[in-house]
Amino acid sequence: MSSFTGTGRLVRLAIRRDRIQLPLWILGTALFVPIVVASVRDRFPTDADRIEILRSAVASPALLVLRMAPTGASEGAMIMFSLLTYAAVLAGFMSTLAVVRHTRQNEETGRSEMVGATVVGRHAGLTAALIVVAGANIVLGGLVALALIGYDQPVAGSVGAGAGIAGAGLVFAGIAAIAAQIAQTSRAANGIAAAVVGVAYVLRGLGDALGQVQPDGYTVVSAWPTWLSPIGWVTEMRQYEGDRWWVLLLPLVTVVASVAVAFALTARRDVGMGMIQPRPGPAQATPALLSPLGLAWRLQRGTLFGWGVAMVVYGVAVGSLSQTVEDALGDNQGSVDTINKLAGGSNVDLMDAFFAAMMAIYGAMAAAYVVQALMRPRAEESSGAAEAVLATGTGRLTWLASHVAVAVGGAVLLLVLAGASTGLVAGLTGSDVGGNLVDLTGAALVQLPATLTLAGFAIAAFGLLPRLSVGLAWAAFTVSLIVGQLGELLGLPQAVRDISPFTHVPAVPAASATALPLIALTAVALALGAAGLALFRRRDIAL
């Protein structure tokens, strides 16, 4: 009998629970390899093609933020340039969600209390979660490596890519393990872990954008912020271009340290409790709470505050980067066309193309928020809380519309925050504060109709298929993001790219805002939302 007794059984339980979810994550992420390889071979078949595109890319900090600092012109390095950071992020989210699912979520629902009362050791739950997640990352890394080797890439670099991605996933798993000890709810733990993944991405982006362009003119040595990021560690392995294996030590040490911290915390705290002690609250409600809208706001405001902070931080980072971009670009107008093609713009000004690319990211972030916020009604429904509210004088339409109002209002607020903070900082570091503020806030709001379309889809899914709605809404978001933001990069046909609402958003400020697509998107959003409300009114409450 040790504190690890029963780990094996819990591992089998976790695998049984995840038998569909984890394989989907793994296959979905590994599927990037064939898509990216096909695209690279089709569009950049020779070293000369690749050098040409990379020369333009290193002049565009926006691209470097989104992707990574190019390490070379070989086919393998080009594949890494198109794939590595996204795969690392996906491995990160797969890992954090799975760790929280098998630790804090079990505690929150009381399942671990039942399990803990059987012959199961104190550390067994966390150990089992980490074993399953480690297995998933190893399978993912192995698949990626095998796929790359299958496409005739050098073995060392391919294994390095797989190992790097798996390593990033494991680092985030370790961080999620700590978050699951600190936070008392799985939502909060997932939030902390997701924020760490986001910060890691931004840090790497900053480091890469601020990196030193090498004399060859198409590779970049990243600046120090990249080295602070677990996603940066993956790219710094320089697969196919030197294969720096020692970089793998960074994720390894971090994993061991974070897991040790998580175990130490497990041994010190009570089951079901977090590290933050609950405090008493008001014995009576304030009038602001006492309406369906007040309740929806109360339940959602924490999520919105978190996103608001993230948006402002990101906006400030982008705004402060804009001056660097301008300096770096100088009069390098020769590569304008290529950059515009990659950044999705159709005009000439590189600064505008940079901002347009950033606006697309704000749009995606606001869409992620709105989808997350609109999952709240479903959570309320399945927990039984909605039942108690709907058994009072609150009508179904009022109840759902209150949540929709908070979600949509929140999305507007987030876009304004992101655009305004970008414009303000860009203006302060450059010139024309007022003009930048107004222009960029407006440009951010151009993203709203696409965001609302995904909100409409989430509401419709909730109205029609409540039990599947969470998966459907996130799938729609992911597909829209990949098809819309990366469709051109992946060389997808226009008909496929048109599925995504993001495809139809004018690349303001690089392009002018045309009304027709925005009106059409808004109309689709309203139709979907209205259908969702009508369907919800007519259906059974599903637990």
């Binding site: 809380a385 108690a388 179904r396």
Partner: protein, 307 residues
């Protein structure tokens, strides 16, 4: 007497499962009506249909003179509901939740709220995530009884309450009954139902198998008799309505169908009765009798698997 709840031939299916299969339920205004049935028999499904949370597939349902699906919101202002498994928002305090439910229901009696919180010994300033099951249940019960409504729909409201709180709860039900309000009480606690209810409905597999006052239902079952006589008892087994008789000269123990009781007592007097104790059937026995065959079936299954 008008009808607060009237359900006839209610059917509700979930895919292949027929959760309610022609259920009937009639609750008169001003009565406390017990709603009994084993787990999974359809009690909560019936209540969800009454609350307009689920849509009936067939059958007529009327609640306070309205249609539970079409008039849901208007009806909900006139009723209070306590679910069997109370889910509160973990970051709201109990006091906030009580105020919220009260206000969403269209008003709350502040004095009654204070009084009930005291009677149920609830700390309203604690966050719901720190409450035990019993305390969460108290929040819902306080919120319900602090509302000025005509009908209380209580789905196993006392699960998790300690005996002292159970007594407070029974007081509250009697108070609202005294004020002429109607209560539908789904419960597994027979003593509670016997103490509070005017009439009961027993359901099984989505159908009503028995409905009426406790006295009427008792009539349908058996009374246990233990008797001592001066002369040896003979021929007892041959009497109609006698079951499980154990006769030992001048002593006997047996069960008798309640409607044969009078006839049997006449028969016993011929042996010169010295002492006689009779135990009227409890609601529990009544219930067990209805589900006895199910228990036996399950018992046999269990035995079969054990072998």
């Amino acid at each position: 007497m008008t009808s607060a709840i009237s359900v006839s031939g209610l059917v509700k299916t979930f895919g292949q499962t027929r959760a309610l299969d022609g259920l009937d339920l009639s609750v008169d205004t001003g009565e406390v009506h017990g709603f009994l049935g084993p787990n999974g028999s359809g009690k909560s499904t019936t209540i969800r249909v009454l609350l307009g949370l689920l849509r009936a597939d067939a059958g007529d349902v009327s609640l306070l003179g309205g249609h539970p699906w079409r008039d849901a919101v208007a009806l909900h202002r006139r009723l209070a509901y306590v679910p069997g498994d109370v889910n509160l928002w973990p970051n709201l305090t109990g006091g906030e939740a009580i105020d919220l439910f009260g206000s969403l229901r269209g008003g709350l009696d502040k004095r009654r709220r204070t009084e009930l919180i005291e009677r149920f010994q609830l700390d309203p300033s604690k966050k719901a995530r720190t409450y035990s099951k019993g305390n969460r249940q108290k929040v819902a019960v306080v919120a319900a009884f602090a509302s000025d409504v005509e009908l209380y729909i209580l789905d196993e409201p006392t699960s998790g309450l300690d005996p002292l709180m159970e007594a407070v709860f029974q007081e509250c039900v009697r108070e609202v009954k005294h004020q002429g309000r109607t209560v539908l009480l789904s419960s597994h606690i027979f003593s509670e139902v016997e103490a509070l209810c005017d009439r009961v409905s027993i359901i099984r597999q989505g159908k009503t198998v028995e409905a009426g006052t406790l006295a009427q239902l008792r009539h349908l079952t058996r009374t246990s008799i233990s008797v001592e006589t001066a002369h040896p008892i003979t021929g007892l087994q041959e009497q109609t309505g006698v079951h499980d008789a154990q006769v030992d000269q001048t002593r006997a123990k047996f069960d008798v169908d309640s409607h044969e009781l009078d006839h049997l007592l006449r028969y016993l007097t011929r042996f010169e009765v010295r002492t006689l104790t009779s135990a009227p059937p409890s609601l529990e026995e009544l219930f067990m009798r209805h589900y006895g065959d199910e228990l036996r079936e399950n018992g046999l299954k269990a035995e079969a698997t054990a072998r």
